[in-house]
């Protein structure tokens, strides 16, 4: 089937709810992070949500790093 439409794809094929629920906001050492829950009870940092540039240089919360519970 070919859909000839300018409607965004995610409006036609909505994303599965489970994809949303994997990502969550966590606070780590007072910094808000958007993290993806890992299967082994850890979190993988996806994004840092802060306006403080110094936070972005902190080694332990670099995007991609794993935070253990």
């Amino acid at each position: 089937m070919i859909l000839y439409t300018m409607t965004p794809m995610d409006q036609i094929f909505p994303t599965d709810e489970s994809v949303y629920s994997r990502y969550m906001m966590i606070t780590y050492n007072g910094v808000q992070l958007l993290a993806e829950r890992q299967e082994n009870n850890g979190y993988r940092v996806d994004r840092i949500l802060s306006t403080d540039p110094a936070v972005y240089l902190e080694q332990s919360i670099q995007p991609g790093s794993i935070i253990r519970e």
């Binding site: 949303y20 990502y23 949500l49 540039p53």
Partner: protein, 249 residues
Amino acid sequence: MEKEPVPNEPEEQQPGKSSALIEKIQQLGQTNVPQMSQDSKIHCLTIVGQIEGHIQLPPQNKTTKYEHVIPQIVAIEQNPNIEGLLVILNTVGGDVEAGLAISEMLASLSKPTVSIVLGGGHSIGVPIAVSCDYSYIAETATMTIHPIRLTGLVIGVPQTFEYLDKMQERVINFVTRHSKVSDEKFKELMFAKGNLTRDIGTNVIGTEAVQSGLINEVGGVGQAMRKLNELIETSSSKAKGPNGEKMLQ
């Protein structure tokens, strides 16, 4: 690597220096990250990807969420240690209401603000870029100015059209109030034909954005920081007053 890894040695038991190093290379492509002194007095707000409004976009989309940005701006306003804000934009645009909300928050911030458009500051990114006290655009960065629309939905009733028209008026008013661009010029850019493929609007690049009066200057992070420090200095001396008297504002 100097030492050959010994086979059969349980790696999990000693997550020592080498694995931490490898992890760092995997994550960042480098081994060390520069350090900075504590308590930066200039904070930096990045507006990237799509500006997300009422509809949550799938996680694979890079978005700037309204509910994250607004509390940050409030915190910046309240924190006495923060003296200025640098806004970095690389956005394709997004929700009009959310974008205007962020713009209004930035425009009403009492601390000096400077924005830089890097890459792109399209659509509703335009009001955000002009909302700051001073704005910069990188030479290669672009801004697309186009009329408001609902993606993919056909406007069927006059009410919708009038509502959209009013919404657009709000954007135009905000932009003309916060930048040097005139109402006529902005509308001219917005409804220009032949610039965008099968669409109306204009794509202004670097110096063109400055010439039209939208953006103050062409420049990068160096100039922006210098300007911000300058603004911080003048605002702090203004707060003291030339003869030490209190300024009313």
